[in-house]
Structure formats: structure tokens, C-alpha cells
Symmetry: C2
Subunit: 346 residues, 2 copies
């Protein structure tokens, strides 16, 4: 049903020309007036089809479960950048047990989103591929994928260079005297854990250290999964480890404490993400911080660019190693003076 | 534009009767088939109006900024309960600086949401009132408000009894020997901070302790705001305090540490929310835990009830005092033996 221009104009108390300008997205209408007209259209039952609704400039942001605080943090950062350009962001938290990414994709398309951002999406599982997102592009919807990207990626994307970050974290542990270093990688079906393991191996090889495949452990992306993986690594004698997320790092610290070990005295732990708040109490977490604000800025720029016909290649960001209080000198180096003293006495 | 039944049936490779059943939300269609039909409708450019989209059973969840981890946690819990009933949840993070609650309300209505959940919404500022939500109800949209409720509330709502919770927290501190107790309340224009202060005063009066208005401090709902409020209270000589959120409690702990004080030795801190993860490192936070899972369950039940014409009154939940490691015996009681020893020597 399509109400007549004059009905809408009367309801909104504006001229018919103004209603027409709003409907056709022409400039020269104050935001207040635009809202009044849109409100009148809604009240009068204007049947907004996808094409029409698209012009309200909404963006859908799909993230994994919000239990891992990096995802709401990333979503809020992207929302905030897009809001400056007049976009309203809708969040869809896709989880394995409730709503799936494809449900949200379908819904965002149906409701006429101008753009869709997918953070660590289904594509990150290599077997899934990018076809679903290419179809969105073909339908004229702007798309930006965030993290978990592998090349060649035919869809605009930004990603952290996880392998490089992992390499710098392991190098840091090696410099602190650690030789038996573990890697809690997450689910190896996904790109990011594969990249983490690759950077981990590269750093060990560069230092002529043995790469022991038993020290790369898969883990569910949960605290419990992290605890179990960390316990396995502790049993295998590691003195330091890197983790795929801060959440996993916290699980590892918790597992060490449950064994009566102190961090970093007995076990050094380096996380990934730089999630705010997680480092608030006790020693701050040593972690690879994602430049979330700059990444969000890029996501917004890439989305807007696409809407103007400008498609950019994948942008790669570096994670910064933030030296907190959970990675320290290897236990052997700390204990050496004691042992030396003991032999002296004998 | 309305594609013909037979086109849709052909595209989806199902019978016309099936397409019709899906369009009219009649039972007897397998979920896979339903999806295929909906997908075909979208691909063929079916012009979903608000009435139609409403039948896709989406719910909008509006929360304050996601920087406070209780909000994504609450949203995810509600999403998860609703998903079991076949609803797809869209999140709208309303913040003072980006998108407003009214933008999301308007958008969720326009996109045809079956229900809307508002967590700590604009209504929590008493001057705003409930009229906007009553209008939604009148339009046939199910609405549930969560927390920050004041009576009489004409809209289905669930809320924590914040005054009772605050009273139990202050009683706990009094039992630990504290007499000079502070309250970091948040912004007093909102209901929850008012309730917190009310429960705080009630507990002091019940113990015949003086109520000093200087010990109830307003704070912005940010870490920085919390630090500044806590510093004020520390300067005013409190040995214990309660905070409107775990986030504020963390800010208070951080302010105490910046002054060289130890928690709980020199300052006892009780938070509010029971946010997971925040208590992960160091001593766990003593806090008033919201029963988020049960609350989410109620939100889902109330929404579904409304869709079946069943409107329930406000449901009130109690927060549990979780005795963690940040509230301890008042410093004076700990130091007494020392002083006694000193006088003994003199």
C-alpha cells in the first residue's frame, strides 16, 4: 500500500515537495524533517520494500557469541564509526547453538541493509568459502569481512596479520629464556588458529628451536576449553604459551593457578586481542592488541567507499605486543642462581 | 512487487500449497523447506512489508553501550532463550553519542519486529516516562522492559529489586565492622541509582548508623567516572563502599590501588551485576549478582505470552550477594590487636 504524497505531507505537516525529496533521498531536507516524514510514512502504513528501506541506511554487523568481550567491543567500535556517517547499526550475534550467520545475512538483506559487516564469520572456516558474500556484493550490498581472512579473498576485508603477531609473541618468550613454548590455537578448521600456529612455528625455527607438534593444542573458544588445553600443555612441560584470545589466556592462567603455579613465575602467558577490562585486576595481561579503533575506522571507510563504487583490496593490520605482567623470565633462568648456590655449598 | 505463487514454487522447488502455507504461517512445513521458500521470495524481490516481515518473528533488543560487559551478556542470554522459540534477535546498542534508543525503536517497528526488549532504557530516567512503549503495545508489538523500572509501570517489565540488594550489601559491610560506608550511585536522574541509595540509607538506619549525604556520590557510568567518585569517597574516609555496577567497582579498586591501598585490607568494595570474567583474576569481586539466566527466561516468556494476548505485571528478581574477595573486615578491627599490643608495651 502506498499512501498519496498529499496524505503524508499533511500528516507530517510539510510540503509535498519535501516528502518527495525524502522518498528520493535528495539533499536539502533537515534531519528533523526527514524523521517526521519517515515517521508519517510508517504510521500511514507505507509498505517499505527492501529497496526503499535500504535508503534508511542501516548496516548489519554479525559477530560470533558476545560472551567473548572482544566481539561486543569490536561491534561497538564499528557502530560508533558508522553512526558518524548517519548509519544505524543492527547487531546479529551468531552462535553455534542459536541463530546462525546465514539467518542474520538473510534477515539483513530482507530488511534492506545498505551494508553488512561480518566479524570472524563462517568464511573463516576455509571449507565454507566466500560465495555467500560475493552474492551479496552482486546484489548491490556493501560487505566488509573482518579477521579470519585467507587469500585470495574476493570480498573487501580487513584482517590482523595473526602469523606475524604470533611470531612476535613467541620471539618475546624466547628472548625471556623460554625454550619449551606452547600454542593454544583454537579450532584448527578456522583460518586464525592456522595462522597463529604458522607464526608460532616460524619464530621457533628462526631461533633454531625444535618444533614439537604436541605443543600446539586445539581448544574450544571457551574458558573451559582453554583450561583443558592449558592443562595439557602444562603436563607437557611448557614454561610459556601463546593463546588465540585473551579469553583463552585467562583460562590458561586459571588452569595454572589451579595447579598451584604462579603467573608469570612458573608459567608465562601471552593473550591475543587486547580486550579492555580483562587486564584490570592483578597483573595486566601480556597480549597482542588488535588496533580495534583503527580497524573500525577502516571498516566504515571501506563500506562507504563501496557505496560510492570504490572497492578496495584486503587491508592488513598489525597487532601490537603489549608487555603486561603475565610474561616473565623463564623459570630455569630465575632458578639458576639458586642451583649455583646449592652446588657451591655442596 | 509480488511474484506469483507458481514462480516462487518453481524457484524453491516446492508445491504452490507449500508456498502458501509459508506465506500464511501455517504449520506443517519443515524448517528447511520454510527457509527455501523464504529465500526464493527474497531472491524474486518479494516486497516484504512490515506486516509480512513481522511474521518472520524477529525481536529487537536495545541495550546501553556494550562497553559495560553486563549488557552484551544480558543480550546474549535473552537472544539464546528467544532462539529456542524460533525468534531471530537483532541488537541495537544505544549510546548517548551515537544511535539513540528512539532510532532503534523506530527502526525495529519499521522492519516489522514481533517484539522489542529494552534493557536499562530511556524510561529509566523518570522524566522520560513510558509513553513511547505504550504506543508500541497499542500497535500490537510485544514489549518487555528490563531493569530501571519504577511503579506504576504500564508496560510488561522485569527488574532487579535494587534497593533490597543494596541493603543486603551494606548490611554485609556493617557486619564486617564497617561504619563509614560509601555509595557510588551513578547518575541520580535514573531510577536504579536512586534505588541503590535508598537501600543504602535503609541499611544504615536499620543499624542506627548516621546517614551522611556526602558519602553518596554520583558517577558517570565509566571507569574514569568511577575512579573519580571512589577517590572522593576515599578522601572522605570510607573503609567500604557499594557500587552501582561491577564496572564501577573495578574503577573503585583501581582508584584505591593508585592511592597505595589494598583491597580489601584498606578498602572493601562490593559491585553489582555479577558480570562473568570480571572476577577472573586476583581476588574475585564481591558483588550483587543479577540472575541473568532466569531473567532472560522471563523476558522470553513474557514476550511470547504477550503475543498470545497474555500480559503480566512487573516481575521482580532478587540479586544474590556473592561473597568474593574484595569485602573484608573493617581496618579498625584488624588494627585493634596491634594497637592493644602497642599500649601494652607503653
Amino acid at each position: 500500500m502506498k499512501p498519496k504524497l498529499n496524505e503524508v505531507a499533511k500528516y507530517a505537516n510539510v510540503s509535498e515537495a519535501t516528502v518527495s525529496r525524502v522518498l528520493n533521498q535528495r539533499p536539502g531536507v533537515a534531519e528533523d524533517t526527514r524523521r517526521k516524514v519517515l515517521d508519517a510514512l510508517t504510521r500511514l502504513g507505507y509498505n517499505f520494500g527492501a529497496e526503499r528501506v535500504r535508503k534508511f541506511r542501516t548496516v548489519g554487523i554479525i559477530t560470533p557469541e558476545l560472551d567473548n568481550p572482544i566481539f561486543p567491543y569490536m561491534a561497538q567500535a564499528i557502530e560508533s564509526k558508522l553512526a558518524r556517517h548517519g548509519f544505524l547499526s543492527m547487531l546479529g550475534p551468531a552462535t553455534p547453538t542459536t541463530a546462525h550467520e546465514r539467518d542474520y545475512l538473510q534477515h539483513f538483506v530482507r530488511m534492506g541493509a545498505s551494508g553488512i559487516v561480518v566479524v570472524n564469520g563462517a568464511y573463516a572456516r576455509r571449507s565454507i568459502g566466500y560465495a555467500a558474500y560475493e552474492r551479496l556484493l552482486a546484489e548491490g550490498i556493501a560487505v566488509v569481512l573482518v579477521n579470519g581472512i585467507y587469500q585470495p579473498c574476493p570480498v573487501p576485508a580487513i584482517t590482523i596479520d595473526i602469523a606475524a603477531a604470533a611470531q612476535s609473541a613467541v620471539r618475546h618468550l624466547i628472548n625471556l629464556g623460554h625454550e619449551r613454548i606452547g600454542c593454544i590455537a583454537g579450532d584448527m578448521q578456522y583460518t586464525s588458529p592456522q595462522d597463529l600456529a604458522r607464526g608460532y612455528e616460524r619464530a621457533l625455527r628462526a631461533a633454531n628451536l625444535h618444533v614439537d607438534p604436541d605443543l600446539i593444542v586445539e581448544a574450544l573458544f571457551t574458558l573451559e576449553g582453554a583450561k583443558s588445553a592449558a592443562t595439557t600443555l602444562i603436563d607437557r612441560g611448557v614454561t610459556g604459551l601463546i593463546a588465540m584470545s585473551d579469553l583463552i589466556a585467562l583460562g590458561a592462567i586459571s588452569a595454572a593457578q589451579a595447579r598451584g603455579m604462579e603467573v608469570p613465575r612458573d608459567l608465562s602467558v601471552i593473550g591475543f586481542d587486547g580486550t579492555p577490562l580483562l587486564g584490570m585486576r592483578g597483573p595486566t595481561l601480556t597480549t597482542l592488541r588488535q588496533p580495534v579503533d583503527r580497524m573500525a575506522q577502516s571498516v566504515a571507510a571501506m563500506l562507504l567507499g563501496q557505496m560510492n563504487g570504490d572497492t578496495q583490496p584486503t587491508q592488513v593490520f598489525e597487532a601490537d605486543l603489549i608487555a603486561g605482567g603475565t610474561a616473565g623470565i623463564a623459570p630455569a633462568l630465575v632458578r639458576q642462581p639458586e642451583r649455583a648456590g646449592a652446588s657451591h655449598l655442596a
